[in-house]
């Protein structure tokens, strides 16, 4: 095969990769712009937050499986939420913990009547967060349900903001808050995760809400109406990405989910690549489960929200993966084969570089909205494309291998907690 032919194939592949990249980058650039607009609007609406005199009662569900390290801090934060004391309860669902989780909860229970314990015994438990949440829902007393992960430290006003938004708009099934990284400064990985979360929330959550009136349920820090939840069929115990799956079903039922950026919770993220990999593998496989479940029904669905949500999952776990693979292949093969980047390919390389530039700009916008546009964060963002984003390729590849080749059964895998991380009021 002549060098000329190789160069031609190379150019075609590069053009394909670029088209995909620019599709994603372009879409996210639009989302970043609308995310910025929404950040301005939401700050104004926070200041105009109505002072409800009669706050609705809320049941806060906290699924917990072997959470003794973080449980006490989370419960304390929840019990100190800036919400009328007699208008909320905290239901901890002890999912067959084998450590001292139950003991920690019982200790705090003896001091505060708002805390309830639902203990799933050994043999029935360990089936995942969705199952635990369904058990908790059966024992929740109120019609508004809030969900927090067992390692979260919500800011005191978080619940109040979420509930006020729900009361303001009866079309909403849920109001979702923002998740910030508690251990962002620990190492390179946690810095990347923190930037990823900020970008995701200001582009995908805020941008989509402003543009399409659509947001996704996160796994934590959200308030949902019991009626909507039950109409949608509660949490799917087979789904290991419970949040994504439920989002799609709520959309299918015609419900809206609003992103409320000033309702903030702080969460420790994995500090170790192994833990990160297992967590993201669960997300990727959970996303694929949702796609498999809903994609065949998509042509029958007339709801735009549902289509957008499925498209979003497809973009993250499939299109992005394919485009990154192709781009990497082109570059590496180009270097190895020593193909000179001639006059035909060089404009494409420029376009490729430009795409990375726009990608960085989008992240810089998200960082600036959050007030985290420090030189270190901007440098880390630049390094992320070549490191953290590349690690996603491995995650997606392994997820597809397990799903398609090995056809391995989906199994809930708990994220290993980071000990000693509690947010104090001064942080």
């Amino acid at each position: 095969m002549s060098l000329e032919l190789l160069s031609l194939i190379h150019s075609f592949l590069l053009a394909g990769a670029l088209l995909g990249t620019w599709l994603i980058i372009g879409f996210y650039a639009v989302l970043a712009f609308y995310g910025y607009l929404y950040s301005r609007e939401s700050e104004r609406s926070r200041r105009r937050m109505p002072t409800l005199t009669d706050w609705p009662a809320v049941s806060i569900l906290v699924p917990a499986h072997n959470e003794e390290i973080v449980m006490a801090g989370t419960i304390e934060a929840l019990l100190h939420l800036d919400y009328p004391r007699d208008r909320f309860e905290v239901v901890v669902i002890d999912d067959s913990s084998t450590d001292r989780t139950r003991r920690v909860v019982e200790h705090i229970m003896s001091q505060d009547r708002r805390l309830k314990l639902v203990a799933i015994p050994e043999g029935l438990g360990g089936r995942g967060k969705s199952y635990a949440l369904n058990v908790g829902l059966a024992h929740a007393a109120h019609d508004l349900i809030a969900v927090f992960d067992a390692d979260n430290t919500p800011e005191p006003q978080s619940l109040r903001y979420l509930v006020a938004e729900m009361s303001d708009d009866p079309r909403l099934a849920a109001a979702v808050g923002k998740v910030r990284t508690l251990n962002a400064h620990t190492n390179f990985l946690t810095r990347c995760i923190a930037i990823e979360f900020m970008s995701f929330q200001w582009m995908v959550q805020a941008g989509r809400w402003r543009l399409f009136g659509l947001a996704s349920l996160p796994g934590t820090n959200y308030v949902i109406q019991r009626e909507a939840l039950e109409r949608a069929g509660s949490w799917d115990p087979s789904a290991i990405a419970d949040d994504a799956e439920l989002t799609v079903r709520l959309s299918q039922e015609g419900y809206h989910i609003k992103f409320v950026p000033y309702a903030v919770t702080w969460e420790p993220e994995p500090q170790d690549w192994g833990v990160w990999l297992r967590q993201r593998l669960r997300w990727a496989r959970g996303g694929t489960y949702v796609l498999r479940k809903f994609l065949p029904r998509l042509y029958r669905v007339r709801r735009r929200d549902l289509a957008l949500e499925v498209l979003h999952l497809f973009t993250i776990y499939h299109l992005f993966f394919a485009v990154m693979m192709l781009s990497d292949f082109i570059l590496v093969s180009g270097v190895i084969a020593g193909i000179a980047v001639g006059a035909r390919t060089s404009p494409l390389i420029v376009l490729w570089g430009l795409a990375i530039g726009v990608f960085l700009l989008e992240m810089a916008v998200a960082l600036a909205i959050e007030g985290e546009n420090t030189p270190t964060n901007l440098l880390i963002s630049a390094a992320m494309y070549f490191t953290y984003c590349q690690a996603w390729i491995y995650v997606c590849a392994k997820a597809h291998y397990l799903d398609v080749v090995r056809q391995e059964r989906l199994r809930w895998e708990k994220t290993i907690r980071v000990p000693g991380l509690v947010r104090t009021s001064g942080q």
Binding site: S110, Q111, K116, L117, A119, I120, G123
Partner: protein, 464 residues
């Protein structure tokens, strides 16, 4: 000779000129404000003493008019606020009149609702200097501000002018519908200390439960003398469990013998399960004399009630209200008293043994005699209903339920199987196993669910 200026120098010169212009502008603005303030102060000086004769009345009236219509409202407000710093009521009334006519109160109200941090703090400080009834009312509202710095500034501003009046208003604020206002007021009163005791004691008879609760918390934090004598009679008449809980906590903190006796009474007799559990836990926390024995006896006394109320439809254990909550609190207390896990487990086993084998079985079964009799009625729906009811009775009715497993009607057999599952009767597993071959599928399903529940419940208990 021609002077040549390059492009960089031109740019630098332009920037320099712009900076100089901006500085000059700022200077003139500052100078203008200072001059206006000076003029306003000169007018206000005519108001700094009470009127002495008719001429001074007329002069002061015209000074008030001049300040109210003064070109620079900020300067007029500042001058009027300076009048408020004195103690003379006539002089202060001039200041208030100027503030009213310059609409300063409206502006502060607006700032407090929608303003930024600096504007809110400035408004709080100004209202603190005014310190009249209207200003105090506004400051009390600000106690509920989202920003703790602003609410703290408000609590300090309240005390700046007339502390006695502010203490009374703060005590009234304990019953505010805005919980944060009430809690910040309580925190302020705690910070004031002994001077607020009188106002707080006045709130003990409040009709508002939140006010009573916060009052007791505040008095306990101040360590008010004679608090135990004040609180014990309250327990008798207090209808609100959350208030009885804080009374119990205050009593435990006092460490007096009389207080412990009262806590024991609460632990055994209070109608609210949480209060009972809290009283047990407090006895343990305070390491009251004989606490370990009292808690162990409490555990044994609770167990029959737990068995009688065992109504979960599956193996999930819910600790929300009821005796299970008290049991959890006692276990926490026993651990706090230094008992090892083995000792706590032994106490639990002994309590269960007492409940299952003790003489109370017959009494418990007696309570269900109607349902047991209903198992023999002709109507299958009635028999099924009775079998379902007996699922709440617990161990004393196992024999009746086992017999119902052989009822000719599948509805009754299925209900009996479910009830045995709810009770968690391991002894009945053999009888249930026979029902797995029942010709009716609903009986088979109910039986298999019940067996799974019993087995997992047993496994969980063994693990414990």
């Amino acid at each position: 000779m021609t002077l040549e200026i390059g492009p960089v120098a031109t740019l630098a010169l332009a920037l320099g000129a712009l900076t100089a212009f901006a500085l000059l502008f700022r200077f003139f603005a500052w100078w203008g404000r200072a001059a206006a303030l000076g003029r306003a102060r000169r007018i206000a000086a005519r108001l700094s003493a009470p009127p002495t004769d008719l001429a001074s009345v007329e002069d002061q009236s015209s000074a008030v008019d001049e300040l109210a219509q003064f070109g620079d409202t900020d300067a007029a407000v500042q001058a009027a606020l300076e009048l408020m710093d004195g103690d003379d009521s006539a002089v202060r009334s001039f200041g208030i009149e100027v503030l009213r006519r310059t609409r300063a109160f409206d502006r502060w109200t607006r700032d407090l609702r929608r303003g930024g941090y600096r504007a809110r703090i400035a408004a709080v400080e100004a209202l603190g200097r005014v310190g009249d009834e209207r200003a105090v009312e506004q400051l009390i509202e600000v106690l509920g501000d989202d920003d703790p710095h602003v609410s703290r500034a408000a609590s300090m501003a309240l005390l700046a002018r007339d502390p006695d009046y502010a203490i009374d208003r703060l005590a009234d604020a304990l019953s505010s519908p805005n919980r944060r206002v009430a809690e910040t007021a309580a925190a302020t009163l705690m910070g004031i200390g002994e001077d607020s005791i009188e106002a707080l004691v006045g709130q003990l008879g409040s009709l508002n439960a939140q006010a009573r609760r916060l009052t007791i918390e505040s008095l306990a934090a101040i360590n008010a003398p004679g608090l135990t004598d004040l609180l014990v009679p309250l327990l008798e008449s207090e209808p609100e469990p959350s208030v009885r809980t804080v009374v119990a906590e205050a009593l435990a903190r006092s460490g007096e013998q009389g207080a412990f006796a009262e806590l024991r009474r609460l632990a055994q007799l209070d109608p609210d399960w949480f209060v009972r559990g809290r009283a047990y836990a407090l006895l343990a926390e305070a390491n009251a004399p004989g606490a370990a024995q009292f808690l162990t006896e409490g555990l044994a006394a609770l167990q029959p009630e737990i068995i009688r109320r065992s109504d979960e439809s599956d193996a999930v254990e819910v600790i929300a209200e009821g005796p299970r909550r008290v049991r959890a609190a006692i276990i926490v207390g026993l651990r706090q008293l230094g008992l090892t896990d083995e000792e706590v487990s032994a106490a639990l086993r002994s309590a269960e043994h007492f409940a299952l084998d003790g003489s109370s079985d017959a009494e418990l079964a007696d309570g269900w005699s109607e349902a047991i009799a209903a198992l023999n009625q002709a109507d299958p729906a009635g028999r099924a209903n009775a079998a379902r009811q007996l699922g709440e009775a617990g161990a004393p009715v196992l024999a009746e339920l086992r017999r119902a497993l052989r009822d000719p009607d599948p509805l009754v057999r299925a209900e009996a199987a479910r009830s045995l599952g709810r009770i968690g009767a391991r002894d009945c597993l053999d009888g249930l196993a026979e029902c797995l071959r029942d010709p009716d599928p609903s009986v088979r399903i109910a039986t298999s669910n019940a067996m799974r529940t019993i087995i997992s419940k047993g496994a969980a208990e063994e693990l414990k």
